[in-house]
């Protein structure tokens, strides 16, 4: 095998690994943590307030209007769903590809997935005119005579896809954590901690027979999650692709959306990990520059795919000869919302090109900034798709515009409050790196590597 850097630095032993990771959960958080938490809680409050007002007084408070019936809510929904995908990708797909370096970031990436999907899930519900009736989208038996849902509607596909995705991701995440929870249980001094983590760990014992089944199930879940994660964003893209609207009615959407999702997801992982490494310095031994560089490579690759999609959309619009399609794409690049289009192109296609240089790939500040830009760019990608397609469609008499209100911003930025609060809390109460998964790869890349080649 090729010579490679060790996955874990600083001559760890199994014991130090356990200490490093478990102690984060065991010790009392530093003040910095509470500063961060209060900041995110403030954002969360903004979110709750904004959404509360909108639900109380009506969707009219947001920028959505006729003909732009979808706005910030749907854009942000797609944005967060996309973020989620990186987690599953790392934990499932890279697992199937036997990418050992995934082990130290998988746990947090999955946590990110779970929280992102939770955040995303709120938006389709809260964007409806009557959110209190959103449960009508579920096909449950009822006494209203035969009354079911419309399985032809992409929104129903969403309901199934997103809820399945959320369920499987949470299960996957939790099952992966069970042995580590057992570890923390066994280290616990206080009886309460023992009880709580004991319950969470389901009384895991770690016998060989259990490990045997456990590994099998873990692989099965990875195998199931892989098509699932691909299907979820494909189906989210169907929300648009299935419609007859020029600019939405495109067959390229599923792969294009999946690529974009991975792109944005990895950017978010990089953002979080760069911060995480600073907050918990010991993690630098586990989440090394090699990890970061690998992720940056993926960011650049998927960024190029997304760029290709942008290009091919234009080509097809011209090639199809459909005047409406042609107009929509010209309007995107040069119409009233051209600024959003060029923000998108700059952030998603141009800026990631710095990763051609190894120095940039391995520079924490650069990758942090780039990842932020990518996140912005990907939000605008969805903005471009939703708003610029809607605001000028078939009949020119309907052409309109979209003007955001303060409530749009509240919903958008507030949603980060929800996500970050959950993530911060997670980083304190749950093992942020998979103890049981890191140990087997402890020796990978070390001199006299005993068991590098599985």
């Amino acid at each position: 095998m090729i010579r490679r850097n060790p996955l874990i630095l600083g001559n760890k032993t199994y014991e130090t690994i356990t200490n490093d990771i478990a102690s984060v959960v065991e010790r009392f958080p530093k003040p910095a943590f509470f500063v961060g938490l209060s900041a995110t809680l403030f954002l969360l409050f903004i979110f709750i307030f904004a959404k509360g007002m909108i639900v109380t007084y009506g969707m009219g408070m947001m920028g959505t209007s006729h003909p732009v019936n979808w706005g910030t809510d749907i854009i942000t929904f797609v944005f967060w769903i996309g973020i989620g995908h990186a987690g599953t990708l790392i934990s499932a797909i890279l697992f199937l590809f036997r990418q050992k370096w995934r082990t130290s970031i998988a746990r947090s990436a999955e946590a990110m997935t779970v929280f992102a999907v939770m955040t995303a899930g709120l938006f389709p519900i809260l964007h409806t005119g009557r959110p209190w009736l959103a449960y009508w989208l579920l096909p449950y038996p009822n006494q209203r005579g035969p009354l079911w849902v419309n399985f032809r509607s992409p929104l129903i596909w969403d309901v199934f896809a997103v809820s399945t995705y959320a369920t499987v991701s949470i299960v996957f995440w939790y099952i992966g954590m069970v042995p580590d929870l057992a570890t923390i249980r066994d280290r616990a001094k206080s009886p309460w901690r023992k009880r709580i983590y004991g319950a969470l760990s389901l009384g895991w014992r770690g016998t060989a027979r259990n490990w045997n089944h456990y590994e099998m199930v873990y692989m099965l879940l990875a195998g199931l999650s892989t098509p699932l994660v691909l299907s979820v964003h494909s189906i989210v893209s169907f929300d648009f692709a299935v419609a007859s609207l020029p600019g939405w009615h495109t067959t390229i959407f599923p792969p294009y959306f999946v690529a974009g999702a991975i792109f944005s997801g990895f950017a978010m992982v990089v953002t979080l990990m760069t911060i995480f490494r600073e907050l918990v310095p010991v993690f630098k031994d586990y989440i090394t520059l090699d990890h970061m560089e690998a992720m940056n490579k993926i960011i650049m690759a998927t960024g190029l795919m997304v760029g290709y999609a942008y290009g091919s959309e234009f080509f097809i619009a011209w090639y199809s000869g459909v005047e409406y399609e042609k107009y929509v794409f010209l309007n995107r690049a040069f119409g009233p919302f051209a600024w959003s289009y060029w923000i998108m192109v700059t952030c998603n296609v141009i800026i990631p090109q710095v990763f051609w240089f190894k120095a940039a790939r391995r520079s924490i500040p650069i990758m942090f900034i780039v990842s932020i830009f990518v996140n912005i760019g990907m939000w605008f990608e969805r903005f471009v798709i939703v708003v610029t397609s809607l605001h000028r469609d078939f009949l020119p008499s309907n052409w309109g515009t979209w003007i955001p209100t303060v409530w749009d911003f509240g919903a958008l930025f507030g949603s980060f409050g929800l996500f970050l609060t959950l993530f911060l809390l997670y980083s304190r109460v749950l093992p942020a790196i998979s103890i049981a998964e890191v140990k087997p790869v402890l020796n990978v890349g070390r001199e006299g590597d005993g068991n590098g080649h599985h």
Binding site: G58, H66, N69, W136, P154, S244, S320, L395, P396, I403
Partner: protein
């Protein structure tokens, strides 16, 4: 304090008098307070449930034996509709709507004793079932919350500034007025009455009190009438037969939109459009872009000062150059024309072509001029010349028929009134049917001279511009609460019957006059003989108006009359009139102007502004500009560029020493050097809705020799830095070369109807669903549609469609289920215009249905696309996926309607909850109602037994609705015509609405109807 318990708000009572316990005032307090029969003791909004139930209870009685004021006065439901006495079944009453000189026969739909909808009366030969936006909308004025609910007294200061408004009982009004009348020196300022009986009564009253009658209209036709008198010796409005005219020339005349009787004209014009292959041709010379202009086959842009020159140029071309008509040898005429020969030259437009065609169409052509934009200083000359042109073209007696009766215009005008006021010749002034202090420029000098009048009585229903200065507001009924009759220009007399017990403690103006006459013990035998206005009306009919009663007793005749609504035999006097050539002597050349010329105009929505407090009309997209909730100064593209004016930028217009500041609107097709500004806005005291909307353009009009000069006013322009956002309901104004409205020239159309339609191959992976039984469909004939917008308001009234206000129209959230798209083709400076009404297409392959997650919108087995409000959760996906964007979303709770406007709601149509989608239903409630009827009567549904609200209201019969599966129905035939096409057909949505191509009577089209690449289907 006990008065507070009453419905009237305290501000009327918290007054100095009361505070000082002024004895005279105390008396007022004790015995003069009245609260409306509908007002509650408890509800702060003034409408208690108990009271409403009372009304409902009364309605039972009403529905059983008609709408009753007193048992003696029986009115009869419209006989041709099924009249059940069941609670909840609508009754239809034939009545009439009069406005200016227009008289429309209407059917008032009442539910449980309250009118909820106004439709055209098919039996009226004038409008034949069609209506106008204003006729439909004036029902909301009945339920106007800002109406006075009781007679009022304005306690005026010495300077006639209103100090206090107090309720006053009718007894005390009568007492005070009669006392005052005894002093003599009475004057009546009356708006034009087209009700023969009211005319008679007013003249009676004038005789009894020897009052002087002064006539004034907010939109006056006085100089037009004057010209008629000069030319024919008869001061009467002729009867224009647009249906007979093959070649129509309109010079600054908006006969399809606002002039005289647009509803009738629309019908006639459309008939002429449909008369293939000899479709009529409309040529328009105008300064602004009017509704008539948008329908022109050929359109010339002229300055208002050029109107006369156009006519003279035509006359010159026809008589002098082409030597046509008997006048060609008339020396006097030739001499007169020679003076105008050159004007033809510097006119800038070549009229020879028009002249030739006019000659070709002699006897079946028609030249029209008139209306505010024509009322320049020199309007008289224009009208005389126009009459002469019609005479030259032998149109007299063919397309121009003499009027049946002299217009009720025999009184003096404002100037005389002002002089009389100056000379203190007037002690008492009664104002009715006009709002002079709104529509008169200050220079007329009326306001300052009113101070010395001892008592001014106003019959208006609120303290508006005129009301504020009056002492007594003897508030009149709303027409729907009152008896009456009206005579249309074509001599059709129709009866107006009340359709509801007066909501408030108001009194008919006619009853006021009668009771005052009684108080004086004077008046004609009829006046003294009739206890109420109803008696007077009835006896006037039996004596004067009844025609061929066919031996029937008058009572039977009356019953039958009320059932039909119109008197069978119209008053007509055939034959032509001789044109008095000496009139030509009065034709003066109008001096050309160099600067900006201001042109005031009347909008289709608001007219003279009397209905300004009707929210429907304020949010009614102007047929031409599509702007709502504002008036604005219209500029041509060239002027806008030259003076760097942007849309919505404020400009200050200065005429003489009067200035107004309004936002600018850049109007394609407008003549250069012209500024247009609509009247009817800027009302004061008209009510909460109208308050602060737009500016009063009348302020800029000039007042010269007792005439209102509303056009060709020399104007100074100042461009401000500030902007006002104008709320336009249409986002873009050209078709971008897409196949949306398809036009054909007449020649092409005759050769191959629908040849311009580009058909796409429709492929489908499914087996089409077939519809047995009924399959509802609609055809919109774009060639007949003039874009008047009656359908929009009809739909709004029928379907309880809310009004959202300017702020949200700016966000594109207007709720109209049926909108009219207006596109310009050709160059923006001088475009052609097309109108396209767009309801829900009820597509067989409806994109909206596929994407609704909860099946809140589905297809019925009758081919309608139904919206289930209760099920809708409001994802708005359907609207995104609707290619026609006809769906409307309830962004907020729009169900909160200010009472008593809620009484106008149609109980057959759900009021939509916040957060649900809504859209055109093809009037599903009507479908269901008539299917039920058919079932009860155990029969099949007859073809075209009923129609939708929009189709019913359309004055030009452009909308046809019916059962596509019924071979006898009109629509099933029209739907398959070769020139019928589906909008965006290439999407294969299979709409149930088809459009028929717009035919233009020209050689080639301005619009570049770019054909798309073959064979694609997106």
């Amino acid at each position: 304090m006990e008065t507070q318990n009453h419905g009237v708000t305290n501000k009327y009572w918290m007054s100095l008098e009361q505070w000082r316990n002024d004895p005279e005032f105390a008396r007022l307090v004790e015995n003069e307070f009245r609260s409306s029969p509908l007002q509650s003791e408890d509800g702060k909004d003034g409408w208690a449930r108990r009271e409403f139930l009372k009304l409902m209870g009364a309605s039972l009685a009403l529905t059983t034996f008609g709408c009753v004021r007193r048992p003696a006065q029986k009115i009869i439901p419209y006989a041709k509709k099924p009249v059940e006495v069941t609670h909840g079944i609508p009754n239809f009453y034939a009545s009439a709507y009069s406005e200016g000189y227009e008289s429309i026969g209407i059917l008032v739909t009442t539910r449980d004793g309250r009118p909820i909808k106004i439709e055209g009366n098919p039996d009226h030969p004038g409008n034949q079932g069609g209506t106008s936006a204003r006729a439909i909308a004036h029902i909301l004025k009945l339920y106007d919350p800002d109406r006075f609910t009781n007679a009022k007294r304005n306690l005026q200061n010495a300077t006639r500034t209103n100090r206090e408004t107090v309720n006053v009982s009718w007894e005390n009004v009568d007492k005070a007025v009669v006392e005052q009348l005894k002093k003599g020196k009475v004057a009546m300022l009356m708006g034009t009455q087209i009700s023969p009986s009211t005319q008679a009564l007013i003249e009676d009253f004038a005789g009894a009190t020897n009052a002087t009658l002064y006539n004034y209209d907010d939109l006056s036709h006085s100089s037009f009438l004057e010209a008629q008198k000069v030319c024919y010796g008869q001061k009467a409005l002729p009867r224009y037969r647009i249906d007979r005219a093959k070649y129509i020339v309109a010079i600054n005349n908006d006969f399809l939109g606002t002039w005289l009787t647009p509803t009738h004209f629309n019908r006639q014009f459309a008939e002429g459009r449909r008369a293939m292959p000899e479709m009529n041709k409309l040529v328009v010379f105008e300064s602004l872009m009017s509704l008539t202009g948008t329908n022109a086959d050929r359109r010339f842009r002229i300055r208002p000062s050029q109107s006369l020159d156009v006519v003279m140029a035509l006359l010159h071309e026809i008589i002098v150059v082409k030597k046509v008509s008997r006048y060609a040898s008339d020396g006097a005429v030739l001499r007169m024309l020679s003076a105008f020969a050159r004007n033809g030259g510097d006119l800038g437009v070549d009229v020879t072509g028009v002249a030739d065609e006019l000659i070709k169409n002699r006897g079946q052509s028609l030249v029209l001029a008139g209306g505010l934009p024509a009322e320049t200083e020199n309007a008289m000359s224009l009208y005389i010349a126009t009459n002469f042109l019609n005479a030259v073209l032998d149109n007299e007696g063919k397309t121009v028929e003499p009027a049946a009766v002299e217009a009720w215009g025999t009184q003096r005008g404002i100037s005389e009134l002002v002089t009389a006021l100056k000379n203190k010749e007037i002690k008492t002034l009664i104002i009715h049917g006009c709002n002079p202090l709104y529509s008169l420029p200050r220079s007329a000098g009326l306001e300052e001279n009113l101070k010395d009048v001892e008592m001014i009585i106003y019959t208006g229903d609120r303290n508006d511009e005129t009301g504020r200065l009056c002492d007594y507001i003897a508030c009149d009924h709303h027409p729907l609460e009152n008896w009456g009759d009206s005579r249309s220009l074509d001599g059709v007399v129709s009866v107006q019957q009340p359709t509801i017990e007066p909501l408030h403690n108001t009194r008919a103006m006619q009853d006021s006059l009668l009771s005052w006459m009684k108080g004086l013990g004077k008046g004609s035998a009829r006046a003294r003989g009739s206890e109420t206005w109803y008696d007077y009306l009835r006896s006037n009919w039996s004596d004067n108006l009844a025609r061929n009663t066919g031996g029937k007793s008058f009572d039977d005749y009356w019953v039958n009359l009320l059932q039909v609504g119109v008197r069978e035999t119209p008053e007509r006097s055939g034959g032509g009139r001789g044109f008095v050539t000496s009139a030509l002597a009065r034709v003066k050349p109008s001096q050309a102007q160099s600067g900006f010329e201001l042109v005031l105009y009347e909008t289709v929505g608001l007219g003279d502004g009397s209905l300004a407090n009707v929210p429907w009309l304020q949010e009614f997209p102007d047929p031409v500009t599509k702007i709502v909730w504002d008036n604005y100064a219209c500029f041509s593209l060239r002027d806008a560029k030259q003076f760097k004016i942007r849309e919505g930028q404020n400009v200050t217009l200065m005429v003489g020493d009067h200035t107004v500041t309004v936002p600018a609107h850049i109007q394609p097709g407008q003549a250069d050097g012209v500024i247009g500004l609509a009247v009817g806005y800027g009302r004061k005291g008209a009510g909460k809705v109208a308050e602060g909307v737009g500016v009063n353009a009348y302020g800029l009009a000039a007042w010269k020799d007792s005439r209102l000069i509303s056009s060709g006013l020399e104007t100074k322009l100042t461009v401000e830095k500030t902007f006002v956002e104008l709320a336009c309901t249409q986002g873009h104004h050209t078709m971008e070369g897409r196949q949306i409205v398809i036009e054909e020239t007449l020649a092409d159309h005759i050769k191959k109807p629908g040849g311009a339609i580009h058909h796409h191959p429709d492929l489908t992976m499914w087996k089409e669903i077939e519809y047995k039984g009924n399959k509802w469909g609609m055809v919109v004939d774009l060639n007949s549609c003039t874009g008047c917008g009656a359908c929009v308001i009809a739909c709004q009234s029928e379907n309880n469609i809310p009004v959202v206000g300017k702020k949200y129209v700016l966000r594109g959230r207007e709720m109209h289920w049926l909108r009219i798209d207006r596109y310009y083709t050709g160059t923006p400076e001088d475009p052609d215009t097309v109108h396209q009404p767009v309801p829900c297409m009820h597509c067989d392959n409806a994109p909206c249905e596929t994407v609704c997650p909860v099946i809140a919108t589905v297809h019925s087995d009758e081919g309608t696309n139904d919206m289930i409000y209760n099920r809708c959760v409001g994802t708005r996906y359907c609207s995104n996926n609707c290619p026609y964007k006809v769906r409307r979303f309830n962004w907020f709770d729009y169900t909160e309607i200010q009472k008593p406007r809620h009484l106008a709601l149609n109980p057959d149509v759900t009021v939509r909850h916040r957060g649900v989608m809504e859209k055109c239903t093809f009037c599903i409630h009507r479908i269901r109602f008539h299917k039920t009827q058919a079932k009860l009567e155990d029969r099949e549904l007859r073809a075209d037994e009923f129609t939708t609200a929009c189709a019913q209201a359309c004055p030009s019969k452009a909308i046809i609705f019916g059962d596509l599966n019924n071979s006898e129905s009109k629509v099933s035939g029209e739907f398959k015509k070769p020139h019928a096409y589906a909008l965006l057909g290439e999407l294969n949505t299979k709409p149930a609405v088809h459009y028929q191509v717009k035919v233009r009577n020209t050689e080639e089209l301005k619009g570049e109807s770019k054909h798309h690449e073959k064979g694609h289907h997106s």
